[in-house]
Amino acid sequence: MQKRSLKNYTLRYFVIAILGIIAIWAASFYLFIIEEVYDNIDDGLKDSEIRIKNEIDKNAEILQTDQYNLGQFRITPLQNGDYRYATHIYNDKMYMPYDNDDEPVRILQNIFLHNGSPYLLEIYTSTVEEDELLEDLLFALMVLYCALVISLILINHFILKKAWGPFYGLLTRLKAYQIGDKNRFERSNTHIKEFNELENELAAMIHRNEKAFEQQNQFIGNASHELQTPLAIVGNKLELLMEDEGISEDQMRKIGEINRTLNRMKRLNKSLLTLSRIENQQFGPMERLVLNNFVHQGLDDFGSLIEFREIQVSIEEDGKFESEINADLGTILFANLFKNAILHSPKNGTLSVRISDTMISIKNPGEKPLDGQKIFERFYKDEQNENSTGLGLAIVRSIVNLYPSLAIGYRFENGHLFELKKIL
């Protein structure tokens, strides 16, 4: 179903409704007027009938009027016979010299007796030309209709703008609102009751959502935090167990496997905690830093791993990427990007890093493009790497989201290319 603008929606109904109403009204009006007109004319004719008959009584010569004359009547003697002695009025056409055409007239016919002889009396009078009247009326009505519709459109437009102004303002603010946003939902003080209510309810709902979001974030952080102790206990007990005398090689391996899986849990928990702290903005203040340093520090930290995997690193440094960022978050951001790139590089692959004033890019070899949206989501994992927590890139994204002037993106260009850009 197509969505129409409110304006057009109401307009459509109005236009059709008015058309219907005007049509019905016009028809009724016409009939009514015509009836009045004829009533009037007929009254005139009947009046003439009475006057003529009175004159006949005074002056029988009038009975000789056998042609229409100034009196606009004629009398025709009839054969003796049975007649209905009644009055009959009807429409007809008669030649009018002025118009040089047949024009409509209304004729009264009456058969009466005078001194025992029947006579036919016919009186005529001009009447409205119905056609033309109808035409004029229709024309006037169309003008009325158009005027109404145009006024309706204009008034509709202005009313919508004025009355619905607060509504559209509300819509704009809603569109700009993001959950967890520092910019609280601003209130306007609209006088219109319904919009005021709408705003109240929306503000309340937003408030509830914000609280739930906050609680959910804190919950993840609190839960991860609580998990640290039992994880520690299990891990430490396993370590002690492995030192027991009399454990067979087979048993030791099994315990080792348990330990490795436990370590996976520990890493996952730690990532969850980090992610939760980032999203709850529990990291400290930002400083204006040169991110090039984080790149170098990261490459240094991963130095022995890079060497072990025989990965070649190429760096092109064409500028200084400066940004406001918290120092610890900067370290975490690049650690995750590098860890990701290194772990997904084959042996002897090349890790390419490029730095400019507005962009830092890290590229590692790859065959098939990844889904640029999904890889930054929590727990999205590349199928091959079951030891990955799936949170590394999610952490990268959360950090970047804290700073509106930074953006992170992925694209495939003969390899997996991650770009950190400065926007604004």
Partner: protein, 223 residues
Amino acid sequence: MKILIIEDEKELLGVLQRSLEKEGYLIESSSDFHSALDKIVSHEYDCILLDIMLPGGSGLELLSEIKKLNKDEAVIIISAKDSIDDKVNGLELGADDYLAKPFHLAELNARVKSAIRRKNQNGNNLLNFRNISVDPDNRTVNVEGAELPLNRKEFDLFYYFLTNAGRLITKTAIAEYVWGDHAEESNNLDFVYYQIKNLRKKLNDSQAEVDIQSVYGVGYKLI
């Protein structure tokens, strides 16, 4: 040497105690603020392991009490709180080290030894083991008088083994100690093997009277 462990999780307290007892320490313990305070006030220790989240009062309060009493025990905070702020806070209040849970027993052991060593700075600070002498401050190793050149990571690794002599250290513990947060998946464990192989060779070549033994594939032990 006496160590006081202040930790309210009984299970954890038990493991820590058993592990440290293997190293020959005498262990005392407390599970809440007030009994801990009593022990601190009335006894002397070489090292205190302090959990910050305690029933009855914050561990940080205990720390300030310790400082007020001018006691010279080495204090290591053990806490589930892992944020840098918490660490900085704890160290500023006078703790000697901060260890975030969960940690490996080998790591705890190494930190306890280091903390006690730093407290007992009596000039001569060398760690001697058979024909090996390690200077942790200058990060040098001498075997029968001749210097054994080790790079940064190799030194860290060797020192870790030496402070945990005779104890099993799992591959993961090794990876995390030496490479910190970057130690991740199983690839890293091959990486550990590769590093140890190099270290072993150097030790062999220098006639050091130690060996790093592999334990059934789960870890290594220095013997």
